[in-house]
Amino acid sequence: MSTSAPVDVLFVLFAAGAIATAYLVFRTDSMVRAAYWLLASFVGVGAILVLLKAEFVGLVLMLMMAGEMTIMAFVMVMFMMNPAGLNPMLMVHQHKTAIAAGVTSFLVLAGAALLTDFPNAPATQTSRATEELGTELLGESMLVFETAGAALLGTMVGAVAVASRRGRYGDAEEGSIEPPLQPDEEWAQASAHRTEEDEHEPSVHGGHS
């Protein structure tokens, strides 16, 4: 296997960068930083793929992750209290279990990588890869590809149905209120009852206790 020195240097840089930024995901208090450190880590992985001559896959990984991580950033900012980490906090839970799980999976994967006898088949032509992928998609893997379409449609419909409060048929609650227990009880009463219950739900507040 022949590689040139600059490629090796870049590989080490990107690999180290990917690991370092992945570590920083858990060391920052800001949700936005966490999401974008993760993005940086993915970019590192994408760059390694490019170095491995999987140019298309690596670049597409980078392309997709920009959108994905931005969605992650804004959803985290939306729902986490203290999203910018103005009050420092710990980004990890169950410290010891997490460390143990992390170390174990690293050892397993590293072991698999080192012990497996990979075939020595250096990639030479990069420009063909995309074409082969296309031929594959339209030929033998056609069913997979079309199933992916249906799955994506399912994702969209599901996401809209779950996340959207207002729809064609009115507000989401109206559909989600269970029918009354007594046949003569009004639906509205049942819903009023529910709302009352909701308000007794203990509020999750960090600092005031």
Partner: protein, 430 residues
């Protein structure tokens, strides 16, 4: 190196953040046409502060904040516009005083002196005090306790409130204005923002109430004036508003053109204004941009007069009661839509109509009866139309996206100095 830069920078327009007292708005607006200076929308982009005229008492504190937000080295120019009081000079001790009719040479001089190092940048005027004690408090000394408690870095964190889609997320109580470039001077809009949607709104009027304006409309309350002059002033006022509104919509260059037109129009120039209407329509200002924004129903218009009322279909106009206007064949224009687009179109058409009237009026006179139709609505002794119009703002902007809310407020053409000082709170409806 820096001396070379400074020499090149001399050729640049001076970056000026302009704060106009509410009696000096018209003069300040004209500076947009001036060469050699560039008015910025935020003080961060400027290093020269221009104060035009005497500031209303309520604007002094915000002006100090704006002054300190300028990027250093900063300087202040007070364009006196023959005012007698001296609130400004008391609060801005280092301000360069300019009595001339044209402040541009003074602004250029200050700009050049700053660049050449001949004038020292002003220090901040507000005391260097953190908004709250925070250093050393909390487990890391950051000023907070727990996840959302305390005052990290001197400021508390947002709290939660219900929202219309069932989520309970944080809301930001923010005061927008009174020196927020897109909104009328003196209007301090207190909004509760959840995301970019306004969930609750209130406003405070920080402009000094002025009972005796100097405009021709105020004069016409007491003495008869030429209809020709009155209608020309009306057309100008509408065009100046249009220039502001177009600038808020992002079209700075078109705004400048309209402002220039406002200075040049003469009685009988109605067709020039109708051409403006066509231009605006072609460019999408009505149909893309303002259609359906800030709809006002007639039943919400209690006490509201002027173009705002007529754009919602109310045919009220003080001019219909005057014999002189009847002789000229005056009929008030109205529209039905009641949205921002209708108010834009209404003012443009009324400007055209006013110029037509001015062209035909000859020596006809009107006024002196204690009530007059001003460009913003019915003006009587001691009460301006903006009081009623401003009262619409809070209920109107609740539920709107921020930009939509700004466009709506702009479309109302408020003059806060003729509105009564009032404090009007409306909270989230849904």
């Amino acid at each position: 190196m820096s001396r070379v830069l400074s020499r090149i920078a001399l050729r640049a327009d001076a970056r000026v953040f302009c704060i106009a007292g509410s009696q000096s708005r018209d003069e300040a607006r004209l500076l947009r046409l001036a060469e050699g200076i560039h008015l910025t929308g935020t003080p961060r982009a400027a290093n020269v502060l221009l104060i035009a005229g005497e500031l209303d008492a309520g604007l002094i504190a915000p002006a100090l904040v704006a002054h300190d937000a300028l990027s250093p080295p900063r300087a202040t120019v007070w364009w006196r516009l023959d005012t007698e009081e001296a609130l400004v000079s008391k609060n801005f001790p280092n301000a360069f005083m300019e009595d001339d009719l044209d402040p541009v040479p003074a602004l250029r001089r200050v700009h050049e002196e700053l660049l050449a190092g001949q004038r020292e940048g002003e220090a901040p005027l507000l005391p260097d005090v953190e908004p709250a004690q925070w250093q050393g408090i909390g487990p890391y000394g950051q000023g907070g306790k727990g996840m959302t408690g305390g005052v990290p870095y001197g400021r508390p964190m947002a709290e939660r409130a219900d929202d219309r889609d069932g989520l309970k997320l944080d809301y930001l109580p923010v005061r927008i204005g009174p020196l927020f470039a897109p909104l009328p001077v003196g209007l301090a809009l207190d909004v509760k923002l959840q995301g970019d949607v306004i969930q609750g709104a209130a406003f405070e009027n920080l402009a000094d109430a002025s009972t005796d304006g100097t405009s021709i409309f105020h004069r016409a309350l007491r003495v008869a004036v030429l209809i020709r002059d009155l209608e020309l002033a009306r057309a100008r006022s509408h065009l100046e508003w249009l220039s502001d509104a177009v600038a808020v919509a992002g079209a700075a260059s078109l705004s400048e053109r309209i402002l220039r037109l406002a200075q040049q129009v003469a009685p009988g120039d109605g067709d020039a204004i109708r051409a403006v209407e066509r231009t605006l329509r072609r460019r999408g200002f009505f149909d893309w941009s303002m259609r359906g924004v800030g709809v006002l129903k007639t039943n919400a218009l209690e006490g509201v007069s002027g173009p705002v009322a007529r754009a919602s279909g109310l045919s009220i106009d003080a001019r219909t009661k005057e014999a002189a206007y009847e002789r000229l064949g005056f009929e008030p224009l109205t529209q039905d839509a009641g949205d921002a687009a209708a108010r834009w179109i209404q003012r443009v058409r009324e400007a055209a109509q006013a110029l037509d009237l001015a062209g035909q009026a000859g020596d006809e006179r009107t006024g002196g009866s204690g009530a007059i139709e001003s460009p913003r609505g019915l003006l009587t002794d001691g009460a301006g139309p903006s009081t009623a119009t401003a009262r619409l703002v809070p209920s109107l902007v609740v539920g709107m996206e921020f930009g939509e809310a700004v466009a709506t407020v702009v479309s109302l053409d408020l003059d806060m100095s003729e509105a009564q000082p009032l404090d009007n709170h409306v909270s989230a409806a849904s």
